[in-house]
Structure formats: C-alpha cells, structure tokens
C-alpha cells in the first residue's frame, strides 16, 4: 500500500493517547466494581450483595471488562498481547467497551426495575457503571481501524465505520501441534460458554449472557481471531470434527439439571434435522417447505413399533430395527413425494412441498378410526412410548458414569449425538463427492448441468430421498425423547422449533451449504426461546424481525460458505484464494462444507 497512510479520524474527538488511557482506566474501574456489592438485598436473583466475590451478572461484567482491558493493552503493542489483535486493534476494544456498558447498564436497569428504583443500588454498581461509561466513551475516541469511505458521512455511518476493521493478514505458520492445541482450546472455551448459557437459571442472567457474548464474539471477529481460527479449522478438518465431537460428548457432564440436558438433546435433534435439510436446500438447491413431515414419518414409524400400549400395531422392535423402520419409511415417503414434485423448479416446488407437508399432518390427524382407519390415534397421537433399553442399560434411569450423574435426557442426548455424527459424516462425504458436486451444479444452473451429462431428475430425487432418510433417523430418537408423538408437532410453523419454518430458518440463519451453520442456527433458534420464557407469546414475531435483520446485515448466514461470502460481498472482497500447495494436489480445493 503506497497510498497516503493517514490514521482515520476517531468518532469522538479525543486525543488517541488520552482515549487509550481512558479506556483502560474505565475498564479497570468496571472490573474493580464487580468485586463490590451492587445491591443490598438478595431479592435480585444471583445475590449481588457479597463484597469481594462477584456473582451472577457481575461475572459477565467482570469478563467483559477484563477482555476490554486486555485488548486495550494489546493496542499499546505490549509484547505477548499483540497476537490478540491481528486484524483491527481499536474497533474490538470499542465493541467490548460498548458490550461492558451494555451488560452493566442492563444489570443496573434490571436491579432498579425489579426492586423498584435506583435507591436499591449499592456503590459497587455505580463504580462499575461509571467505569463502563468512561471506557465506552473514551473507546469511541480511539482512532478507527479503516479509513472513511465518504467524508460527508452521517454520524451513524461514521459510528458504523468505526466498528469495522480490515481483514487480518495471513498468519505466520505455527507448528501443527500448536495449531491443534489452539483448536482444542477454542472448542473447550466454546463448550464452556455454551454450557454457561444453558445453565443460566434466570432470565436476567441469560439476557446479560446474550449481550456479553454477542459483543465479545463480534469484537473477536473484528480483531481477526475468528478468521484465524476458521483458517485453522479448515486446515485440520478431521481434528476439528473430533474436537467438536469430544466437546459435544462432554456437554451432558457439565449439566446437573435434567431440564437443561433436555434442551441439549432437543437442540441436537433440531440441528440434525436442519443438517439433513441442508442437503436438500443448501446443496441441491431444492426449497423444501414440508421437510418436517419426514421427521414425523420417522417418529411415527418408530412410535408404532416401539411397543407403546397405544400403538395400533402391537409389536415391539429392538431399537436398531425401529431406526431402520423409521429411516426406511421416510425414504419411501421421500421418493413417493419427490418423484412427482421434483419435475417442478423453484417457487412451484416450494409450494407443492408445503402442501405435502400439511397433507402429512392432516392425514395423521384423520387416521383415528373415525374419519379413517385407526393407525395413528388421530390428534391424541401415540403416547407412552417406552424408554429404550440397550443390553440392560435403561435410558429412562439415572446412571452414574465417572462420578457424574447422567439422567434420562443426558442418555438420549448421547444417543442422539451418535446420529448427529452419522448425519455430519453423510453430509460431509456426500457433499465432497461427485454426487455433491452434481448437486451444487444443479443448484447453480440446471440446464448447464444436464448438458454436462448429469441426470438432474435422478440426482434431485437422490438428494430429496437422502434428506428424508436423515430426518427419519432423527425422528426415531425424537419419538423416544418426547415420550409421545402428535400431529401438531409436525406442522409448517409453530411455536416449538423442529417445524418446517424453523428448520429452514436454522439453515438460512446458520449458513446454507455449510456443515456447522445449521447446527449453530439450530442451537440459537432453540436456546433463545427456551430460555426467554416471557417472550414465548411474541416468539414468531421476534423471530421474523431477527430474520429480516439478518438478511439485511449478513445475508450469507452466520457461518458463511466461502462461495456465499463472495456472492454477497463481491465488491469488498476480491477473491484471493490461498496459494496452491504443489505437493498435495487435492488439498487446496474449495469444499462444499466449511
């Protein structure tokens, strides 16, 4: 870069050294404040009355302030801290300072609201609050990381620009053991954060958690750490998958409460089905709005052969046979529904699949003995599905493993994890094969794909059937986890997440065509409504707003496929792929999954 290299003007006109000192001092002050009492009574959840030991929401302020301080010090170029900010230096500090202010401000507001007035605040809250305010204001005076594109920008545009940061330069090569350690550590931290989020006992703490993690994650992204980690995970894909699996296995051991382990199990079911849908939507580009019906087919098939007393077929299959039955039934339905509908393209396909999804629900509703043959017990569904029992290991009972108590939900969580791993493997392997390339080609240009010798109809049917089978697999476990299957679980849009609208949202929110995207999307879409009970009534409304915002700000989804990222941000990111490694011919090729 030989262009004139002037430091971009800060958002607030404060001299840079003063701003830096102010930020560090404010963050320190906020940090100290968390060790003091914030309120006089333990009426406010989390007990913020103890001096010398932060608790509840104070911990979040503590972590946020500590990170702010750390990155602010990194801005001084202190040796040993510079690796924290390979990308932007000042914008992450700004974001973290704002996050600290957000968390602290929210806590103060919540205390004042819950207990009736700001008189209930103790000095500690004021110390932290003022510290966070100083940090946030002075952080806005730090110079920007990227130049202004427009000199006549409005205040809002300048503010947004000051939060942006340039891409991190390519990192120095580390020894591979160090890279692997970094990946493992990242998954450890990820597991801890996720477990902490699920473990939040009261709404205030969860909202504080969302504010803190939201700002902190964005800050780390701006600092360039996220992209470095992504580069490492793409390099060591198998190790990443293994680390992710280990982290996922560890999860139930961190959860003491049954209901939180159940959230984990449901997230896994939701995520697995979303990943199955990703084969259909993300890879082959077939917009399927009735996908949840295949989950229903699997669940009903498993319920019918589960030995439930209410099942119309009084048989009890062993679980492996039930799984095959469920997956097989979904496969058959997938082919039956796919064969006539896949001749349509685009919007027409979406409408027809939407119709078939509803037909499934209505049919199941009517097979009750009155308006049709008695098979599914109508709207009552099939209740009292017995717990699984593997060689004397009863899934319904609590087991003590390595000194940890694993309850019913934890058992099913681990079982479901096996299925998730299978689906992850199927997604990855099919996506990277000749078949997966043909799917992507069909998604890109069906006519050109057929002219390249691809039998488009057959491959679309294959994607549809494979997706259906994967959903059926998940359905067999879901039937056992929920004790009961009812038609209302499998509608297009409802308040309980695994339904077609939410599945599609998880795929789009997470990132179409990627491996981790739908899992992340499913976790967010399940966790947030499950933890915020008060917004259950407005769930669909808020969900719609969130989707609109996401499409405006990040249309490629949270986890971007490299292709999608380029597609939506063509102008600001020229495509400079990594230089090809000459010795390993196939290693540098872009993959369907991320």
């Amino acid at each position: 870069m030989t262009t004139n290299h002037t430091t971009p003007a800060p958002f607030l006109p404060i001299p840079a050294p003063a701003a830096r000192i102010g930020t560090a001092a404010g963050a320190t002050l906020a940090l100290i404040g968390t060790f003091l009492a914030w309120t006089w009574t333990d009426q406010f959840p989390g007990d913020l009355t103890v001096t010398g030991y932060p608790g509840g929401l104070q911990v979040l302020t503590l972590i946020s302030a500590a990170l702010t301080l750390l990155l602010a010090l990194s801005g001084y170029g202190i040796r040993g801290l510079r690796w924290l900010t390979p990308g932007g230096t000042n914008s992450p500090v700004r974001l973290l300072a704002l996050g600290t202010l957000g968390t602290t401000g929210y806590t103060i507001g919540a205390i004042a609201y819950d207990l009736g007035g700001i008189v209930n605040l103790e000095p500690g809250a004021w110390v932290s609050g003022i510290g966070a305010l100083i940090a946030a204001l002075t952080a806005l005076g730090l110079p920007g990381d990227q130049p202004h594109t427009d000199t006549r920008a409005t205040a809002w545009q300048r503010f947004r620009n000051s939060l942006g940061a340039p891409q991190a330069p390519r990192p120095k090569a580390l020894p591979s053991w160090a890279e692997i350690l970094i990946i493992v550590a990242a998954f450890g931290i990820g597991l801890y954060v996720f477990a902490y989020g699920i473990d939040t006992d009261y709404t205030e703490l969860f909202i504080g958690f969302l504010i803190t993690t939201g700002f902190a994650f964005t800050a780390l992204h701006r600092a360039g750490l996220v992209s470095r980690l992504t580069a490492l995970t793409t390099k060591h894909r198998n190790i990443t998958l293994a680390a992710a699996l280990v982290a996922a296995v560890c999860f139930p051991f961190t959860q003491q409460k049954e209901e939180y382990a159940l959230i984990g199990a449901n997230i896994l079911i939701f995520g697995t089905v979303a990943l199955g849908l990703n084969v259909v939507v993300g890879l082959a580009g077939l917009l399927d709005l009735g996908y949840v019906a295949f989950l229903g087919v699997g669940a009903y098939a498993a319920a019918l052969v589960s030995g439930s007393t209410m099942s119309a077929i009084g048989v009890e299959f062993p679980f492996w046979a039930a799984v095959l039955t469920g997956a097989g039934a979904s496969l058959v339905f997938g082919v039956l529904i796919g064969a006539p509908t896949l001749r349509l393209r685009g919007d027409y396909l979406a409408i027809v699949t939407l119709g078939f999804g509803e037909i499934f629900r209505l049919t199941v509703n009517n097979l009750n003995g009155n308006s049709g043959p008695d098979l599914t017990n109508g709207s009552q569904g099939i209740p009292s599905i017995p717990d699984l029992n593997f060689f004397g290991f009863d899934f319904g009972l609590k087991h003590n493993i390595l000194g940890f108590d694993l309850g019913r939900s934890a058992n099913y969580y681990l079982l479901m994890l096996v299925f998730t791993a299978v689906v992850v493997l199927v997604f990855r392997r099919s996506g990277e094969s000749r078949i997966g390339r043909a799917w992507v080609a069909i998604r890109e240009d069906e006519t050109a794909a057929t002219a390249m010798g691809i039998n488009a109809f057959r491959l679309k049917l294959l994607a549809f059937a494979l997706g259906a089978t994967l959903a059926g697999l998940a359905g067999t476990v879901q039937a056992h986890v929920n004790y009961t299957v009812t038609p209302e679980q499998y509608q297009f849009a409802g308040s309980v997440p695994p339904n077609s609208a939410f599945l599609l949202a998880a795929v789009i929110l997470g990132g179409m065509g990627t491996l981790s995207g739908p899992l992340v999307g499913a976790a967010l879409l399940y966790l947030i409504p499950a933890k915020l009970q008060f917004m259950q009534d407005y769930q669909l409304f808020l969900f719609g707003i969130a989707l609109i915002l996401l499409m405006r700000v990040r249309p490629e989804g949270l986890v971007a496929d490299r292709r999608k990222q380029l597609e939506f941000h063509e102008n600001d990111q020229p495509d400079v792929p990594e230089p090809r490694q000459s010795e390993e011919t196939g290693a540098g090729i872009a993959k369907a999954g991320a």
């Binding site: 000749r434 390339r437 057929t450 010798g453 292709r563 011919t585 872009a590």
Partner: protein, 304 residues
Amino acid sequence: MNTMTTTKTPTTVLDANGVTMRFGGLTAVRDVDLTVNTGEIVGLIGPNGAGKTTFFNCLTGLYVPTEGKVSYKGTVLPPKPHLVTQAGIARTFQNIRLFANMSVLENVLVGRHTRTKEGLWSALLRLPGFTKAENASRERAMELLEFIGLADKADHLARNLPYGDQRKLEIARALASDPGLLLLDEPTAGMNPQETRVTEELIFAIRDQGIAVLVIEHDMRFIFNLCDRVAVLVQGEKLVEGTPDIVQSDERVVAAYLGTPFEGAPGAEEAAEVEAAEASTAKATAATDADSNTSTSTEEEDTR
C-alpha cells in the same frame, strides 16, 4: 491420438437427418441434414435468427426435434441432454453458462460426471475405488486446465474469471466428458482479435486430439480460417454446404447476409452493381435494413 487425423479414413461422427423443429406455427429449423466426420471442423453460419442455436439444442437433446433423427457414430441419440453427453457429444453455450459459484477446478470436475461411476454409497463409505476415481478425475481436470492455460487459476471462483477465460473454461468443462464431438456455440463472441486467434489455436489443438468440432460463429474470417467445411443456415433451412471457398463465393450466401441489392440482377454483374450502388448509399442501406428486419423476427436463444 494424432494418428486419427493422418490416417484420414473419414467415418461419420454425427449424422443429423431431416431435423425439423417447430414451435407451434413457427418452424425454426426445417429439414436440415448435416454430417460431421472424424477429425473435421465444421462451421455453421447464418444470419441472426437463422436457427443455428435451435439446431444445436436439437442435436444435444435440449429440444426434442419435431421430425428427423440425430445419430452419433451410428446409434440414434435419445432426446435427453445427459444421455447425449454420455454418448459423446459435449457443448458450450452462446451465453456463458458456467457454475458461477463453483471453483474453476470444480467446474471441470462436474464435466467429468458421465465418465465416473462412483455413486452415493461409494462416497459415503469411502470405498476403495472412491479415492482412486476422485484422484483420477482431479488429475484429468488439471490436465485440461493446463491444456487451456487456466491451471494457475484452479481455485478461483468461475464468476471471477475474466470473460475470455470463462469462455475457455466452458470449453474445458465440455472436454472433460471426453467427447467425440464438441459443439461450440459462438466461442469467440465478444472477444478481441487477439483472443480470437488464441481460440482458433485452441480449436485446432482440440481437433488434433481427434475430436470433431462443430462450431457456430459470426466472425467470418475466423470461420473460414478454421473450418474444413461450412454449412449455411438461413431461415431454418440449409442453404449451402461445402468448403470455405465454395461457401464464400456462393451468391446466395452473400444475399442472405447482405440482401439482394436489385432483384433479378444477374450474378455476374452483381459486383459491378454493388459498386455502382455504393455511390447511392442511401438506397442500399434502406434495402439491407428492410431485409435484416424480417430476419430478426425469429430471434433464437436457448429459452430453457
């Protein structure tokens, strides 16, 4: 491979017999016969709307011809694009149709689809044949990219390639299916003279590999340099077919492109007449304008 061109025992690769394509009342292609032999480059020219691309679509199964049949090396082709490609006919498109969001290498790998057999189970279970087939495909794809000179851009997204490279990549993708006949639909459209010359070299090189080429083009210098034989399509009918010399000197071809300046004027006097007409330009342009207006009414595009 080069032996095929030297032995010169022309066997028919493509035999289109009485191909007719009607869209409702409009006959876009009427009773066209065309043969292409091994080691031959055949050109297909004609004014806009003459039905060239429609004829191509009939050959490759994108359209089902209303009448007539197309056979490849003696077997009649089923009107299904993927079966035609599998039989050994590959094509490019007039308006570039790459898989824009796939990498350059992946585009070529998609072209290998018909020549590989590894199915879903093989991919899921990573059967022993899978890695072998995959590596062989990649090797062949890289070979092709080297052949057209895009090997160093293998990881770029197809959409980010410059226009000329996109055209080349389309050819590489078509070649990936190991065709016996390559159909090129206006391969030099929008290219500068230098790029056109490079493409010309490329097509000769493809021919030298023993692949017959059928090419649609508007650039007359390009087509007459390149082709062993040229067929002229006018208003859906084949007007002339022969060596470039014959076609170039055929007055009906000139008339089809430029219009007949004076009706009933003897062919021998035509040149003199045209020269005379150049003096009164206004009259001549009026005549050609009127003629070209009638022919553009049947604008052809692959509408699928």
